[in-house]
């Protein structure tokens, strides 16, 4: 096996990991604060991808503008989902919460099928491929990684340096005590959902640069995102960060050694084994 080939796939793994981390962090943020897993999260991201596609392909917007619009749209969608679906079931048993967001998944996937048909749509941007030390690296991937990193730094600063961010961290630790600080937990949930949506929107832009979108896109990236979150420890941001790159490397390098599907199988088996050995995830806390 060519060493360069493996190195190349390792680099690609890191680049892939960047966007996966964005997805995982968004999902994790919402879970950590609101305590509900948005099963439909990646499918909502899929909607963001369609949004960018239509704005660019049909209306001729520049990718940058479309991207900004997508982020704003997804932030609004996040708030809407929280108000319409999450807020009414906040005190329902976990079963019902999972099923509500599961129902949303169905709805989004099938509505997209109905509206857009199952055709794969791609932006077909001719982005260059760079050659670095004998390895071929796609510019789109590099860009996606860079933007993801920036976004994550931004999120980190927000969570640690602002009042709202600190409140969001506090809510995941003691909901009632936060109310005693004079903070409105409902507003915190809305802000969290908006940010989670915005991160999903950003991920959507970065993804549509590299992949084509179709109604069942969520089926490819969805389970993977959940696995990453749980592997890192549900609710743990550093955990999700680490787990993203771990999984992306397994998939990338594994894809070179065997087939892509097999690489996924290995990744998922690693996940199951890890959870069995350490149920709270790599950096999670024991419940």
């Amino acid at each position: 096996m060519d060493a360069i080939l493996i190195a190349e796939s390792a680099v690609n793994g890191i680049l892939l990991g960047g966007v996966l981390a964005l997805l995982a962090l968004g999902l994790n943020l919402i879970f950590g604060v609101v305590d509900i897993v948005w099963i439909a999260y990646v499918d909502l991201v899929m909607l963001g991808m369609y949004a960018v596609y239509w704005l660019v392909a049909r209306f001729g917007w520049s990718v940058w503008l479309a991207g900004l619009a997508a982020v704003a749209l997804m932030a609004a969608l996040g708030v809407l989902v929280h108000l319409a679906i999450i807020a009414p079931i906040l005190s329902s048993p976990p079963v019902n919460q999972l099923l509500a967001t599961g129902g949303l998944l169905f709805f989004v996937q099938s509505f997209a099928t109905f509206l857009f048909t199952t055709d794969h749509r791609s932006l077909r941007l001719a982005l260059p491929t760079l050659q670095v030390a004998g390895m071929y690296v796609s510019f789109a991937r590099l860009l996606a990684f860079g933007v993801s990193l920036l976004a994550m730094v931004g999120l980190y600063l927000f969570l640690t340096r602002t009042y709202m961010g600190t409140a969001m961290r506090a809510v995941s630790q003691d909901r009632e005590a936060v109310a005693l600080m004079g903070a409105d937990t409902r507003r915190i949930y809305l802000v969290t959902s908006g940010i989670g949506g915005a991160m999903g929107g950003l991920a959507a832009v970065l993804l549509i640069l590299q992949y084509s979108v179709h109604p069942h896109f969520g089926a490819s990236f969805g389970p993977l995102t959940f696995m990453i979150c749980v592997l890192g420890g549900l609710g743990s941001m550093p955990g999700a960060f680490v787990a993203s790159f771990l999984m992306s490397e397994v998939i990338s390098i594994g894809g070179i050694i065997t087939s892509t599907e097999m690489a996924y199988v290995v990744a998922f088996v690693i996940f199951i084994a890890a959870i069995v050995v350490r149920p709270q995830g790599l950096l999670g806390r024991r419940a």
Binding site: Y163, T166, A167, R169, A170, Q173, D174, E176, A177, V178, A179, L180, M181, G182, A183, D184, T185
Partner: protein, 234 residues
């Protein structure tokens, strides 16, 4: 400043408080004592808005508090230091205190208030970057009180501050509460430690199975009767 008239409250089918009336005047320190299960913590939670009363009135400076959500009551000037401290374990001491000044009005003067809190509790200043969950019980209690002070309240509710603390810490704690009181804060304190708390406050109420059984000035109540009632409920 604070007045309760005939407050009845409970959880679900269970009623914990029956027609409780009490008052706390500005600048006073008032204690509520009583045996376990008397409803003392429920009383605190009703005042701070975590539990909605079924009947009766709550007034702060003459304005009604009924039905207000907890975060609005904080904005009106009541800070609740809950039973068990409830500090945020994975936030630093500094972040915990910062959460205390979440209110917009408190944020503006946060830096100043923080300095005052640190001068009252120097141990906290030393540990400002430490994770709150790693502090000792006594330090956590100080943090909880300091956090309440950050919201610049008019009235501070203290729910069983001495719970789970070693006797030496309890003495130090009451000293600190005395100093807080001297800063001019109005205090309503719920305590199991009757003797110690009566030495600290002006007046006290005895709560028993959800009803006020006795009340009076602290120096008049330091009799065996009251103490016995509070401890054993006979």
């Amino acid at each position: 400043m604070l007045e309760l008239r005939g407050v009845t409250a409970g959880y679900g089918e269970f009623t914990a408080l029956w027609g409780v009336s009490l008052r706390v005047n500005a600048g006073e320190a008032v204690a509520v004592v009583g045996p376990n299960g008397a409803g003392k913590t429920t009383l605190m939670r009703v005042i701070s808005g975590l539990v909605a009363p079924r009947a009766g009135e709550l007034l702060l400076d003459g304005r009604p508090l009924n039905g207000l959500a907890a975060h609005h009551i904080v904005a009106r000037g009541i800070a609740h230091v809950p039973e068990g401290r409830r500090i945020f374990p994975r936030l630093s001491v500094a972040d915990n205190l910062r959460m205390g000044s979440y209110l917009p009005a408190a944020r503006r003067t946060a830096r100043e208030t923080l300095e005052r809190v640190f001068s009252l509790f120097p141990a906290l200043a030393e540990r400002r970057l430490q994770l709150a969950g790693t502090l000792s019980g006594g330090e956590q209690q100080m943090l909880a009180i300091g956090r309440a002070l950050m919201s610049r309240p008019k009235l501070i509710l203290l729910d069983e501050p001495s719970m789970g603390l070693a006797p030496v810490m309890v003495l130090r704690l009451f000293d600190l509460i005395r100093r807080v009181r001297e800063e001019g804060y109005t205090i309503l304190i719920v305590e199991q430690n009757v003797r110690q708390v009566l030495a600290l406050v002006d007046r006290a109420y005895l709560l028993e199975t959800g009803r006020v059984r006795m009340e009076g000035r602290a120096n008049e109540l330091l009799e065996q009767d009251f103490v016995r009632k509070a401890y054993i409920g006979i």
